[in-house]
């Protein structure tokens, strides 16, 4: 249970999962924010007006899946790093998960990194296809990872393991 372990339940994830059709139609945000807290930067950041229900900042953000174009502005702003952008239109075999990342060094494009699920368990090795920096002020980066379609709603973090050559 989320409040005991920090891992959202399957039901919670289902609640915020876009339909297969919406996923196939192109990039879309998945907002994994399940608790009422006084916070609303995602809502303030969205120029499309796709995040709804935040007239009270304690509310849980609701996404209008048709208005959201998956631009990722909200994901870069969210202090909880709770927003992911999923693009299932990437290729017939792969989807792209764009995830917020705040560890140095940042991965490099084409680098193979270890993919982790919501419990921090390894899912395998995946390729970085883009590193989108949040800017000087923001510093959060969005890392674009190509994954098989069935892992698009599973992969939520990465770990970089580099072999260091000594001497």
């Amino acid at each position: 249970m989320l409040a005991k372990t920090g891992i959202p339940t399957v039901e919670q994830v289902c609640q915020v999962s876009p339909s297969q059709e919406r996923l196939a139609a192109g990039p879309v945000a998945v907002i994994e924010c399940f608790q009422e807290i006084p916070c609303n930067p995602c809502w303030e950041a969205c120029a499309k007006g796709a995040i709804l229900g935040m007239d009270d900042m304690n509310n849980i953000p609701q996404l209008d899946l048709d208005k959201c174009n998956g631009c990722g502005t909200c994901a870069l702003k969210c202090p909880g790093l709770a927003i992911f952008i999923i693009d299932s239109s990437y290729s017939s075999t792969e989807a792209v998960v764009r995830l917020p990342y705040e560890f140095y060094p940042l991965p490099e494009v084409d680098e193979e990194v270890i993919g982790l699920n919501r419990a921090g368990e390894k899912l395998g090795k995946f390729k970085v296809i883009k590193v989108q920096k949040g800017g000087k002020q923001n510093k959060t980066a969005l890392i674009w990872i190509a994954v098989p379609h069935e892992l698009a709603m599973e992969l939520r973090n990465i770990r970089i393991e580099r072999v260091v050559n000594v001497g």
Binding site: I7, I37, P38, R118, Q137
Partner: protein
């Protein structure tokens, strides 16, 4: 003796905002900070803040501090005294302080106490071994001085501070073995918990630390599960090899100056300990002495800044400064209500209810 209209004690977010608000309305302000720089807790907050844009949400604490500092230094009504510790407040209104090895005296017309809070400690066997720190101390070490405390950490406390400091330890390349909390549920924001969990750090609720062990310094800790009466369950002990134990078990308001000034004090568990009674304009039971931020009840930087606004405006108003005082005050009070209106603010409102029970009538 030197006089001033407003003295602000403490240069954290609450004190900085209070000074700005009072000075912008025309009051002459002296702001004292015992540290060698302004910012209070903000200077070690490298994570992005919650709240709303008005309280700089989405910005990192350290950047918020810089913004406020700029506003302060651009205001000719404000004199900033860093490395200056306020020592006492006396019945005749004289405030004494120590700065640059000198003993100073000042007679302010109004005093705003924004001294923040200090970390609580936890009793367990061998808790005096080197390697056992408060979470705030670890944060200062890492984020202000660039020193990591060790290699592998046990974090005790899954409130926001425990969660955030764990995350920052990982960002510094330190391994976090586990986060434990005696409560059956994670106390901090679950989005923070999730981002730590998906980096591979287990969070054990209903767990406590039984003892630390080690020869010269911490070499490990024994933790155990708690039953529903919060008693350790025999046979559930786990041995964690760690060289640092980090305690994030709460803060208590720093109120020595409130006691000394003669403020009526009340024990409010929701606020972390004894706090001065105050009215909604944040004036204590001693006329002319105001309190804002964590010193008046442990909460958050966002609330501390809005409280600073309320205290600054109130003080200016009481000295006859300012034009749209009523609207400004109402707007600030509304922002405070908003921040506290959700489930996360319930505890604070409960505390306030107890505090205001008789306090409201005290002051004009």
């Amino acid at each position: 003796m030197r006089e001033t209209e407003v003295l602000v004690v403490g240069g954290g977010p609450a004190g900085m905002v209070a000074a700005i608000e009072a000075a912008e309305r025309g009051a002459k302000v002296v702001l004292t900070e015992r540290d060698d720089r302004l910012g209070g807790q903000l200077i070690k907050q490298t994570h992005k803040f919650f709240g709303s844009q008005k309280q700089y949400a989405g910005s990192r604490g350290i950047d918020i501090s810089k913004l406020l500092e700029e506003k302060l230094s651009n205001n000719p009504n404000i004199e900033i005294l860093t490395e200056t510790t306020v020592l006492g407040i006396y019945e005749d209104g004289v405030v004494t302080m120590e700065g640059a090895n000198k003993h100073l005296k000042l007679k302010p017309k109004r005093t705003i106490l924004a001294t923040g809070a200090s970390e609580k400690f936890l009793p367990f066997a061998n808790n005096d071994l080197p390697g056992i720190y408060g979470a705030g101390a670890v944060q200062t070490l890492m984020n202000v001085y660039g020193v990591t405390p060790g290699q592998r950490v046990l974090m005790v406390g899954a409130g926001n501070i425990g969660l955030i400091v764990s995350y920052q330890l990982m960002q510094s390349g330190v391994e976090v073995a586990a986060i434990i909390d005696a409560a059956p549920k994670i106390g901090g924001y679950l989005v923070h918990a999730s981002k730590i969990r998906r980096a591979g750090v287990p969070i054990f609720t209903s767990h406590t630390i039984l003892n630390a062990y080690g020869q010269e310094f911490v070499e490990g800790a024994i933790v155990a599960s708690l039953d529903d009466k919060w008693q350790p369950i025999l046979g559930t002990e786990k041995d964690l090899a760690v060289d640092v134990i980090c305690l994030a078990v709460g803060l208590s308001p720093l109120t020595e100056l409130c006691w000394q000034a003669g403020c009526e004090m009340k024990y409010i568990p929701e606020f972390g300990g004894y706090v001065p009674r105050k009215n909604e304009f944040l004036e204590t039971t001693v006329p002319g002495v105001y309190v804002c931020g964590d010193a008046g009840g442990v909460e958050e930087a966002s609330a501390a800044m809005v409280e600073g606004r309320v205290a600054g405006i109130s003080v200016a108003a009481s000295l006859g400064f300012g034009l749209n005082i009523v609207q400004d005050l109402e707007a600030a009070l509304k922002d405070l209500d908003q921040l506290r209106s959700g489930p996360a603010g319930e505890k604070i409102l409960k505390g306030l209810e107890k505090l205001f029970a008789r306090g409201k009538q005290h002051v004009s």
